[in-house]
Amino acid sequence: MVVLRGFLVLVVFFLLGEAVRVLVGLPISGGVLGMVMATFTLMLRGRVTDELAAASQGLISVLVLLITPGVVGVFFIADQFAGHWTAVVVALVVGTLLSVFTTLLLMKKLTTEQARGDQHD
C-alpha cells in the first residue's frame, strides 16, 4: 500500500509532464518534464515522504530490467545500419574518450581554483 501511494505520485507527475509537453508543445519527453517538476516540488516542500522515496528507489533499482528490451533490439537492427557501423563505433570510442578527458580536466581546474579562492575569502 505504502509503495503504491508513492507510485501514484510518480504516475501523476508523469501525466502532468505529458500535459505540459502537449499543451506547451515542448520537444521534451513527459518523463523528463515530470522529473523536473517533481524535483522543484520537493525543493519547495523541503522534504520527501518515505512512500515516495521507497517507490522511486524500487523503480530505479529495476531500471536495467526496463531498458533491457530496447537493448535487445540492437541485435535485430544490425543490417539496418550496415555501412554506418564504422562511423558509429569510431564516434563512440573517440567521442567518449575526448569528453571524459574534457570533464575531468575542467573539474580539476575549477575545483583547485575554488579551493584557492576560498583560502583568500
Binding site: S56, V64, L65, I67, L92, F101, T103, M107
Partner: protein, 241 residues
C-alpha cells in the same frame, strides 16, 4: 501446421497472445544476468544489461519467437520507464546539498561537458558520413536510458541504436575515467564520480558506487544533471539546425 493440436506453433501462439512470455523471459534474463555478473567478479567491460540483452537476443532468435512479438509483450515493462524517469528526480533532490557545496565548478562544467559529450560524437559521425537518422540516435549517447529514449523519439532516431550506443558509451566511460584520472593525477572521488555519471550515465554511476559512496552520489548528480540539460537543450538545438 499452425493449428495442429499440441504443436509448438500452437503453444507459441497461445503464449504470445498476452505479454506474459515476454515479461517472464525478460525477468529471467535480468536475474540470471545479475547472478552471472557477480560470478564473473563484476567485470567493467560486461555490465548486467549487456549480459541480459545477449541472453534474450539468443533466446528470441533461436526459439522462433521473433523480435517483433517479443517487443510487443515487453512493452508492458517499458511503459514503466515514464514514471521511472520521474523517480530520478527524488535522488536529485536528496543530493541538493552536494550541488550547493560544489555548485560553481559543477555549473560551469556541466553545460560545457554535456554539450561536448554529444558534440564530439556527432562531429566525428558526421565527418564520417553518417545519415541524419544515425546522428539523431547518437546525440543522447551520454544520457541515462529513459531520458535518452525520449530524446531520440523527439529527434526521430532509432531507439535501439541509441540504446546500443548508450551501452557502449557507458562501458567505455568507466574504462576511460579510470585511465584519464590516473593520467591527470586526480584522486578526488567527487570529480571522478561526477565524470562517471556525466559521461557514462547509469553504467558509470554503478561503477562509481563501487569506488566509494561519495563517488556514487556525485555520479547520480552528474547523470541527473546531464539528463535534464541534454533533454532540455538537445531537441531545441536540433530544432534550430
Amino acid at each position: 501446421m499452425t493449428d495442429q493440436p499440441g504443436g509448438f506453433n500452437a503453444l507459441l501462439a497461445a503464449w504470445t497472445a498476452g505479454p506474459m512470455l515476454s515479461i517472464g523471459l525478460t525477468l529471467g534474463a535480468f536475474i540470471v544476468a545479475q547472478w552471472l555478473f557477480a560470478r564473473l567478479r563484476r567485470p567493467l567491460w560486461l555490465p548486467p544489461v549487456m549480459i541480459a540483452a545477449l541472453l534474450l537476443a539468443a533466446v528470441v532468435a533461436a526459439s522462433g519467437l521473433g523480435f517483433e512479438r517479443y517487443e510487443a509483450g515487453a512493452r508492458w515493462l517499458t511503459v514503466l520507464l515514464g514514471p521511472a524517469t520521474v523517480a530520478l528526480g527524488i535522488p536529485l533532490y536528496q543530493q541538493m546539498h552536494h550541488i550547493r557545496a560544489l555548485w560553481r565548478p559543477i555549473m560551469v562544467t556541466l553545460p560545457l561537458a554535456a554539450s561536448l559529450a554529444a558534440f564530439y560524437a556527432l562531429a566525428i559521425a558526421w565527418l564520417m558520413g553518417a545519415a541524419p537518422m544515425v546522428l539523431a540516435s547518437l546525440a543522447p549517447k551520454s544520457v541515462t536510458a529513459p531520458i535518452a529514449m525520449g530524446i531520440t523519439e523527439e529527434l526521430g532516431g532509432s531507439v535501439s541504436l541509441t540504446l546500443g550506443g548508450l551501452l557502449i558509451t557507458g562501458v567505455l566511460a568507466s574504462l576511460f575515467v579510470d585511465w584519464c584520472a590516473r593520467w591527470l593525477r586526480i584522486t578526488d572521488d567527487r570529480i571522478i564520480g561526477f565524470a562517471l555519471g556525466l559521461n557514462g550515465h547509469a553504467i558509470g554511476t554503478a561503477r562509481a558506487f563501487e569506488i566509494s559512496h561519495t563517488a556514487g552520489a556525485f555520479a547520480s548528480l552528474g547523470m541527473g544533471l546531464t539528463g535534464v540539460f541534454t533533454a532540455l537543450f538537445l531537441p531545441l538545438a536540433f530544432w534550430m539546425i
